[in-house]
């Protein structure tokens, strides 16, 4: 993927909501995003699915990056609520989790989410986010 193509597409910043009950993991994801080519706008954080839905009610969100196992409302329950809400159903969701079950990963994919396994490399997260936000794989230079 060419640098110019990335720059073209990401001149506009994106608002990201990071949902994880671990402060450290939220910080790692944010650090990784900031290392890449993506221009971040507002960065919102939530400690569980319920908090995330509240953030989405009050802020424009372009991308949700969420864990699965969280207290109060887990990531899959959050996705289920988003799917039935016309305001949220089109927001791309990237699940970043230790989840090892292929059955559960398939279920999440059927619900429209992308999946990235922990631990992830900065390149894996960056490329996945860029792919989700619509940059073609082989954009012309």
């Amino acid at each position: 993927m060419g640098r110019q193509a990335i720059e073209r597409v990401f001149r506009m910043s994106i608002n990201v909501l990071i949902v994880d009950d671990s402060n450290v993991m939220r910080a790692m994801i944010l650090k990784t995003l900031r290392m890449g080519e993506i221009e971040l706008g507002e960065v919102l954080q939530a400690g569980n699915g319920r908090e995330a839905l509240e953030r989405m009610e009050n802020h424009w969100v372009d991308l949700v990056i969420a864990d699965i196992n969280m207290p109060e409302m887990d990531g899959e329950q959050m996705i289920d609520r988003m799917i039935v809400n016309p305001s949220f159903k089109d927001i791309p969701v990237l699940v970043v989790s230790t989840e090892g079950s292929l059955a559960r990963v398939c279920r999440l994919r059927q619900k429209g989410a992308r999946f990235l396994h922990k631990p992830f490399s900065p390149e894996e997260l960056h490329d996945t986010v860029i792919g989700m936000l619509g940059v073609p794989d082989h954009a012309p230079e």
């Binding site: 450290v24 993991m25 790692m28 079950s101 059955a103 922990k118 631990p119």
Partner: protein, 158 residues
């Protein structure tokens, strides 16, 4: 499975996670270390439920934890608060557990992993029930000893 097989899988998983998550190299300890104690050690565990039910504990030197958390966040060790260390340890054991269980129970198995729990040095390993079986793996973490203890309530050993 045999105890040695489980121990090897635990070690492989932990070595890989510590390297990829915290950029720290570790090795399975060549000799069994019988007793490591002291106030400078920290421990955290995560309960899991699914085809097997139990808890996975990690215990390592406080000094190493500061280094691991610093690496994970890309911050200087002086910027790492006790709260961040605790959260870092919780994330490490959570990721190790999430990667370990499918290797033991199969990729189609579905587990629920609980929030990390913490215990003070010298408290032993809470939440270990008398029934069930435990397997321990010991890693050499750059001169420090890192212990992993997997306790499963059902019989898993041959």
């Amino acid at each position: 499975m045999r105890r040695n097989e489980i121990r090897a899988i635990m070690s492989e998983t932990a070595v890989s996670i510590l390297e990829r998550l915290a950029f720290v190299f570790s090795f399975p300890a060549e000799e069994e270390i019988l007793e490591v104690s002291g106030q400078d050690r920290v421990q955290a565990g995560v309960c899991f439920d699914g085809p097997m039910r139990g808890i996975l504990w990690i215990e390592l030197p406080q000094e190493r934890l500061k280094e691991l958390t610093s690496n994970m966040l890309g911050l200087a060790e002086g910027q790492i608060s006790p709260e961040l260390e605790r959260d870092g340890l919780g994330e490490i054991i959570n990721v190790i557990c999430g990667n370990l269980l499918p290797r033991l129970a199969g990729e189609t198995s579905i587990f629920t992993i609980g929030a990390p729990v913490f215990a003070a040095p010298g408290d032993g390993l809470p939440l270990i029930r008398p029934e069930g079986e435990s397997v321990e793996a010991v890693l050499d973490l750059d001169g420090g000893v890192c212990r992993l203890n997997l306790h499963v309530e059902e019989r898993i050993l041959d």
